[in-house]
Symmetry: C2
Subunit: 502 residues, 2 copies
């Protein structure tokens, strides 16, 4: 590396170090607002967060900093692999945000925070009108953000999608989701018509928070979550927050008569956490640990939740502990009954509580609405009805409250384009799980409690290069094949045909 | 107000507004480290906090800012009462800290954070040697801080005391504590010799965390804590943190066989919280809400804990709820037995668990050690023995572990001079409770659950002007009398002579 290049790189890293401090502080503030902050303290804390976020944003506008990474961008061949990824990312982000001023940025931060507070409030009161104006603001900010983005024109939903899943377009997704519909709609009809009766009565037996907490901790330990580098909290909407290299937190909620909800949300969020915990240290040293896409992330969380968590082998592994922690639930339940119950297919309103099979429909519905909102400027006040109509069309059920309808998810309080990543995650993990099966006996390892070996494979093959590759290249490198929906659909068809004796 | 004065004042307020943002962020980070942050995430988060704290400190070094409040300091007569307090405080703080550079400040912040982490670790492992080097560092920093302080010389323990309780000196405290010893030592002997048997067996009956949490919430509601502006968390060492005007948090701990510990720590911290919640809004608008001394604060927390919380009337009020929440504890206990049990006098090791009577000895011990540490440069390695010797001397008991000895309290991980404020708090509240009794029927109000009326008196008489007055003036304004230990000692003598039939 030339002396000049080294100097520029050092300068860039020194700015990133300070930005990371701000980002760490904002992550703590955000975690606190989600978990502890009292209602009337929210707006003050939102302002604190917006201020700090904007201090960091201002640093990104420092001409010396921009000049330095642009210089590096013109000397990429002198950089190592990690710094190349870093500098390309900085350049891309520069082109995307060069027209956004700190004033705009601060205003938007505050608007997003207000939007989130309104969403919480609207959901609690089951009143869409409280959230509607924010939804409109968020759309305006999203459109403004992409209109100022010099990287790609014309403005459309694709620009937002690209923020969460680089390289994916609406055209791609239309094709993938059509394939899903073609195969899953008739299959769902068959399942619903199946005479097979799956016992689920025990799933609503009452349990205490303390029992559920003990189970959550057991499950996290079982999949390999490191409690010296992470924590478990409670929130209405479970999430994972990687606050720092050695501080990865997951949350769950405890419902007194639905213990599966915390169990599987914990495994899901635990999957996200493992990705953060076991990525290469170099990602942090080179400030590229945020490069992995949400689809990659969801592929991991849904891998642990479904491919591991809802497998016969996992049930066999955890069943003795289930009986120990929830004796009042499992006293008359067999292992087979438990396996069937966690895989029962039943159209339902809440995405995060949906079974693995109908889950994809929840995403398709949101995807289609998002495109309407962004590309066709759908009227905000029409959205609740559009939402309900789609649930009726795809799943044959109609929400009767906003809470179980359009207000259920937090995502639209900060923007559009995220939801498809959940479905893509399922598709990615179906592909790489098939690859994993060629190389290690994953089901056997799970059954014997040796999930660490599965994590090792994930570390080496799935997580290691995620921050350095775009999704389509990444999945091809792991599996040797181009992206396809087929593995996922084949898996669902096989598993559920067997379960329902089709 | 002259135009120039107005301009200067606006500038000062604009800087304070930003400093308040940093201070809010640091308070959230600190609360998070106490309650959630995983062990390996601590040092990173400590660095984040130190960075932000130092950004704020740098603002206080801005020459334009200093010039502005010094200008105001020379034009005090143009300012209103609140701004006068603000400007005097800024001037004082300027004189105290003008020789401290941001580099020193950052280094010290990091050292305090490390010291706290080491204390946690040392306490957990019951190993004083882990904490000893930090204790030495903290002493050095304390001495350095006061040696750079141009306000008062020579350097001694008094300088530290003044940071927590303006106007109090070691000479004062020696006199007050000698009076205490003169009256309390013989009284303690009589109590210990009393044939009166107080039943305490039920205090160690096992309870769940959920029961204790329900009790904590009930108690906070009972004394008037506003949950829309506050929250309750759990930590090993209970505390109160006023993060913002509408965000006042208290913590407690749940011990499975010592439910009184959470009950009375919750009332204590709740008392601190009420002070923060019901101070005048103007304190926040004028950035003077940090002016109240720790002695004033402890007077309030210990007022609720002891004068209200351990009174017959309060026991009468809460006893039905105690039986409802802890049926497994109270099934064979009478109201009178409960009253006696919460007031039993018994020399013990842990300050925060001590009864109201022996509590003062815990403070005297720490006070005498602090003076040795600062004024006589006591050897750090000798402190555990010195601590134990004093417990033997005053209370006739000798700690057998560091945890129940010198490592029990967090305070010395950030400095010396705080402990006396607890004792002063008892003395202040004894004086103002006597005044209160002249004006309202506090016991009757408590017994009938009308604690809000007591809070109203506290708001108007005790809390309202606390940020605007120095302690000695404040207590004189409330009571019409000069500070005295007599009220407190009379109260103890009367209450405990009666309880022990002396």
């Amino acid at each position: 590396m030339q002396n000049e290049t080294k100097k520029k790189l050092d300068y860039v890293l020194s700015v990133l170090k300070i930005q990371q401090i701000y980002s760490n502080a904002c992550a703590v503030l955000s975690f606190d607002m989600e978990t502890v902050c009292p209602p009337k303290g929210m707006s003050n804390q939102g302002e604190t967060s917006a201020y700090l976020e904007n201090e960091s944003f201002k640093l990104s506008k420092d001409p010396k900093y921009i000049e330095a990474y642009e210089y590096l961008y013109n000397h990429l061949d002198e950089l190592d692999e990690f710094d190349k990824v870093l500098v390309k990312g900085l350049h891309k982000s520069y082109v995307q945000t060069k027209n956004i001023t700190p004033e705009m940025n601060l205003e938007w931060s505050k608007a997003f925070n207000q939007s989130w507070v309104n969403w919480l409030n609207a959901k609690e009161k089951d009143d869409f009108s409280i959230f509607a104006p924010s939804l409109s603001d968020v759309r305006e900010i999203n459109l403004k953000t992409i209109s100022l983005n010099e990287e790609r024109k014309p403005i459309s939903y694709d620009n937002l999608l690209d923020m969460y899943e680089t390289g994916m377009t609406g055209t791609d997704l239309d094709r993938y989701f059509n394939e899903c519909k073609e195969r899953l709609v008739p299959l769902l009809k068959k399942i619903m018509a199946s005479p097979k009766k799956i016992r689920t009565d025990f799933l609503s037996r009452p349990v205490t928070d303390e029992q559920q907490k003990a189970m959550s901790e057991y499950l996290l330990n079982t999949i390999g979550f490191d409690f010296t580098r992470g924590a478990l909290g409670t929130t209405e909407h479970p999430f994972t927050n990687g606050l720092a290299k050695d501080d990865i937190r997951v949350t769950t909620h405890y419902y007194p008569t639905a213990f599966l909800s915390s169990m599987y949300s914990v495994i899901h969020e635990g999957g996200h956490a493992l990705f953060e915990m076991f990525q290469p240290d170099e990602n942090y040293d080179h400030y590229i640990n945020g490069k992995k896409t949400m689809g990659m992330h969801e592929s991991t969380s849904r891998f642990y939740e479904n491919r591991i968590g809802r497998s016969r082998e996992f049930v066999h592994l955890i069943f003795p502990k289930c009986k120990e922690i929830f004796p009042n639930v499992f006293f008359d339940v067999t292992e087979e009954e438990f396996y069937e119950a966690i895989n029962v297919v039943e159209p339902s309103f809440i995405r995060t509580e949906a079974d693995e099979f109908t889950y994809t429909f929840h995403i398709i519905i949101r995807y289609e609405l998002e495109k309407e909102i962004i590309n066709n400027n759908a009227k905000i006040e029409d959205l609740p009805k559009m939402w309900n109509d789609k649930y009726e069309e795809y799943l044959g059920i109609r929400p009767s409250t906003y809470k179980e309808g359009i207000l259920q998810d937090v995502h639209w309080s900060f923007g559009f384009g995220y939801f498809p990543t959940y479905a893509l995650g399922n598709m990615y993990n179906a592909m790489y799980y098939n690859k994993m099966l060629e190389e290690i006996d994953a089901p056997g390892l799970v059954e014997s409690g040796n999930i660490q070996k599965v994590n090792d494979w994930m570390t080496e093959r799935v997580w290691k290069r995620a921050d350095r590759l775009e999704p389509k290249d990444w999945i091809k490198e792991i599996t040797g094949r181009d992206f396809t929906v087929k593995d996922f659909l084949d898996y669902l068809e096989e598993k559920y045909s067997k379960l329902y004796n089709l």
